[in-house]
Subunit: 126 residues, 6 copies
């Protein structure tokens, strides 16, 4: 197993990764969620996102697919569509991910997610 | 919009892509599902998987994440974990995808999916 | 609003409707579930299934679609596929319902439900 | 297996069926969804809705039940409640379908769907 | 099994319990839902909430956790967060319940529920 | 915000809490899940379960309700039904929790969870 770093470094490392991935949208979220926000910074970003075995691009690709398939997580999908762009996914690639969602989660999930992508990137043709 | 090919070619193209991605596991599934199986071949594989905008590796990464997050789709997760290996994802990468599932869908979803990966690749240490 | 009947009649009316719809499969379920089983008899069957505004055929069509779309309810889907046959839906119609599930809930949900229909009616070609 | 028609006819047949079932609400949806919209027209409407084994009324009954049970698909539920009326389901029958949802998916799902029906048909008493 | 009371008393007992638990927010809901509302009063409140084996505090704790974990039930979560306060749960306890949701249903579910608690109790620091 | 303890203590504290709550069933789970198991120990048990604002009894009550409502998490429900007994919930109380699940998540979810409770406590009448 990997060696965990002392907690103050975990929080700092999580904040750094959060800023790199989600930018200001993510920081606003965690700063207004008290201890729940701290868990997100430490565990999701400090422990998971910093792991070397999968790139940030791949992590965001998986996360966008998951949130779209689940449905009902539109606020998080909005943050992660921006994060996906931050880490190098193109709008065309994100459109393809959402087209990939439809056979596995149905058209409603794919449509509702595609609307969020369209809201984020209105100048791009669907 | 892209030009759609005539139907007999769509079915054939879908079968080719299905064999490339899912191998024999996927072919056994669709051959025993009548018209539902034909729709999977034509639409999921003939229309979606053949699209050039996202690699097969990325498509399987998204699909594994979706199926794990949803839960209750273990038969399909088994097929797609094998498909993911077929198209170049390593076991380490798949393990990372499932670790990425936990913050977004909870530990139960991640654990239940990890058990399927362990069943597929028993010789690899978790 | 309709007039509710006194409770002993509600339970009896629910038992009658349960036997009509689910047959012995449903009765075995409720008899082994204590007060939860009594609520199913009184509310689901005594209050809902006896309502005149929708036929038993339509109620089972909706129920099979719902259980297939949700996934993870295979024991209940098994009972309701039999119930659907009891109230006049044909195997061909049930196959069409499950094909209708796929665009709205994805192929995994449709496939997993189709396997239960195939288990119930093995002599019918998919 | 049935014989598939050449693609241009599938798209045209899908558009015809979409207009018959969903009217203008559905057409606006697919025309603003690029290739995802084309897949909906060709596969959902061209391949599934045109199948003869289940009436449009039965297909919409199943679809309304599924969308209500899943939750989180309110935009699609709105379109399909209108479609259900287009193909002959009465408001009373739709109300009964949503009452049927409650024992299987819980009261929250049934209530949230009933609110959409009330928004569509405000002049009808709940 | 317990002895059920005649129906008019069940409805009255349900109304009493509904008023005790949900206050006016719950009463407004059921009064605008016709027969679906009557089922909620009779079964959920008349039959389940009146059962002596679990306190109202415990029932609301479970209900808030369930609605948060499921997601997409924000109207019901709003009613039950108020109900939870009515029956003695503190805001701090409710915050802890939502923090408990995250490992089991993921951070999106926990965040979206926490936002509803914050909307209900804005003067309390997160 | 609370002060986080250095990581080695977090892991140890998490292991202690895991043993107190889940006993050997939980320990077997985490020990066979590599880094995912470590995250469960550190975050779920080290950071969440040790928080003083909600008792272990209340945490398990919420967790059992969530897992039952979600469905498809039977392995985790089995572990947490045992954990609930460990921290002081009686079988009668757990039966009431599952009866409480039905109005909010439907009878299928409640039935499938009740079967797991019956499997755990076979000598107790349903």
């Amino acid at each position: 197993m990997t060696i965990s770093t002392p907690t103050p470094d975990r929080y700092a490392r999580g904040r750094d990764k959060l800023a790199e991935v989600d930018g200001s949208a993510g920081e606003e979220v965690v700063d207004s969620l008290g201890d729940l926000g701290r868990h997100i910074v430490e565990y999701a970003f400090g422990d998971v996102y910093t792991r070397p075995g999968l790139s940030l691009r791949d992590r965001e690709l998986a996360t966008v697919a998951m949130l779209a398939a689940k449905g009902g997580c539109e606020p998080q999908l909005d943050v992660h569509l921006r994060a996906a762009r931050n880490v190098g996914l193109t709008v065309d690639e994100l459109r393809e991910v959402l087209i990939q969602v439809a056979p596995y989660a149905g058209f409603p999930a794919a449509i509702n997610a595609m609307r969020r992508l369209q809201a984020l990137e209105p100048q791009e043709a669907p």
